[in-house]
Symmetry: C2
Subunit: 381 residues, 2 copies
């Protein structure tokens, strides 16, 4: 058996995530460990919560990271909110909204699907219509930025409709958070999850989540305990926030599991960088580099999968593979000859699109220029 | 809001985990990212699997890490193996076996508890007796090394009894793996999970798991899908091993979630270190440093919680807090004046024991000497 250390090759990560990570974040990963019950570690937890409240634009107390990737965050939201028999309207316009639907069904919920073409934003009219037909729905679930298609939906409008029909919202912001505005309180979103490895530019392995008071009330009123012990939001809050004290006692953090300290160091540093830059500046930077890329691609005669510019995720560009071009060969050449990774299409879009990410630290003119020059060279061969 | 970087203080981690991490492992954490679909990343996955087969002493194909802490690994084992109505005999002699019981019940299983005093090994006679009374039991679950009490149970004997009664075994090796012999194939264990942050001396956040063919057959025969999408072992295997190919096609890895690359770098390096040392040498080292510590503690008049030396986990020493000594004050002095962290008692043992870990990289004469000298000084104040 080979026992040598593993050294990664040169890579420019321009797929749908993970993204490149700032050197300060890489350096943070290597700091010596403290334990999950160290007093200074508690300070780390508190600061991560405050930084996430800023990034999510929320005052929700229950705002922290789940100790797993975005998929674990998605499951945390579904598992806590959905009880067997609950009706959930799922707006399905891509791969990840399909995954929410599958999770709802595995948890015994009844999914009502509002179907949309892969490449279009969720249609608010269709949601309104579904809610009229299903007045007993409890939750509306949708993906803000569909990583599989490059489509951004209008989260504020969808949430407003859901609220008007008395539903809670379950919102995927994995690819939107940090890259475009996500305003949890202003838009009235209820349970929201994200991922660490997209526009936050931390390594993969953590999922930021936030729960509104309305959502927590629903969790507290559950008839059955949450099936998942690992993702039980109330037990997680007893660690991250401390358990509400009995009369006269102090709140104390309750052990639940050992949190992944190096990833917490890393997301703390990444969020600190974002705070230093300022959210608005980060949004503007993502938009500016998107425009640079789009202009370059259009000059080469390439076109976007998402027709309407307004519906495009600026930092996840889905480009049609031109007729007669071998998708896999192009991606292999980019990877092997230039060290550039871009994403392939998922599901029905396999072979039909490329997914080019300009997220977080990777949203930089250098990456735009390098990618355009490499792609030009490969397509000319 | 404070936006400064976080720098951890000096710490010697001698609690029940996380443990100190080798500088080579810290350095591995900071290597630049590759993505979860990079060809070189696939080599990383394959090597981690081979190294874990060595450490678990198994040829099980389904041997990899779950992208979450030990609690996620525990839940992966329970969620896949236990269906609603399944009878599970849980040998409960501490905090973590109690947690298995809770998970079994949350997943709709019927837990039959074989109760044992906190501080004693699971009694094989009691298990035999319970299985005679419950011939319809499907699974026997137990904790090999109970982190809450410092007790090591006889996994080989318990598994032999379970097998003789036609049961599958679900075994927690979080604190045993790498520190004492764990022989999955020789002992005939079926589903086994561990943690990265104990004797493997990697950072917390990953849970090594291994499933026998017998266990996988049971998973494939389930009537209902696994409730957890995130922890569905067959979907995870489709990524880690590749999906079994259709006729004429190659096995291909199927996307499930984005694995936490830096933690994979780290566990790869930690397992490589263990492979370089050799498992048998690591076991001997853990035992030798245990003896050093025990001799020093006994010379100070301190006694172990676990009476029989044979039942003690060598690398997790549970020591009685002497009469009249303030448990919390001693731990605070050790932490603040010496940077040494040891563990407190959990549940009914709170205030009654200290838990002193000498695991992985932390199992070193330097730590034994420093701890004994610091404790002597604090107790003399």
């Amino acid at each position: 058996m080979r026992t040598a250390s593993f050294y990664p090759p040169f890579r420019v990560l321009m797929g749908p995530g993970p993204t490149e990570v700032h050197p300060r974040v890489l350096a943070a990963l290597a700091r010596p460990l403290v334990s999950h019950f160290d007093p200074t570690g508690f300070r780390l937890l508190d600061e991560i919560r405050a930084l996430l409240q800023y990034v999510f634009q929320t005052r929700n107390e229950v705002t922290f990271v789940v100790s797993g990737p975005g998929t674990a965050g998605m499951e945390a939201c579904v598992a806590n909110l959905v009880e067997p028999g609950d009706k959930v309207v799922v707006c399905q316009n891509g791969f990840f909204s399909g995954r929410i639907r599958e999770m709802v069904e595995r948890h015994g919920g009844v999914a009502v699907v509002v179907e949309e073409e892969w490449g279009r934003a969720v249609d608010p009219e269709k949601l309104e219509d579904a809610l009229r037909r299903h007045p007993d729905a409890k939750v509306v679930a949708f993906v803000h930025a569909e990583t599989s298609t490059g489509v951004l939906s209008d989260a504020a409008t969808l949430a407003e409709i859901a609220r008007r029909h008395g539903c809670l919202t379950l919102v995927d912001t994995v690819t939107s958070l940090g890259g475009v505005p996500v305003k949890v309180d202003e838009w009235g979103l209820d349970v929201v999850y994200s991922g660490s490895q997209k526009c936050l530019s931390a390594p993969p392995g953590l999922s930021p989540v936030t729960f509104s008071e309305r959502a927590l009330d629903a969790v507290r009123r559950r008839k059955m305990p949450v099936v998942s012990f690992f993702l039980d939001i109330q037990a997680l809050a007893d660690y991250w926030l401390g358990k509400p004290p009995a009369a006269g006692a102090n709140a104390a953090r309750v052990y639940h599991h050992t949190v992944p300290i190096p990833l917490l160091y890393a997301i703390h540093e990444a969020l600190t960088l974002l705070r230093e830059e300022g959210l608005e500046n980060a949004w503007a930077r993502h938009r500016a580099n998107h425009s640079r890329l789009r202009d370059g691609l259009e000059a080469m005669g390439l076109t976007y999968w998402v027709r309407s510019e307004a519906d495009r995720i600026p930092h996840l560009n889905t480009i049609r593979v031109p007729d007669g071009v071998d998708d896999a060969w192009v991606r292999r050449r980019l990877l092997e000859d230039f060290g550039i990774e871009i994403g392939a299409g998922l599901g029905p879009l396999a072979g039909r699109i490329w997914r080019v990410g300009l997220m977080g630290y990777g949203s930089h003119p250098r990456n735009v220029a390098y990618f355009l020059s490499a792609l030009r060279e490969v397509l000319a061969r």
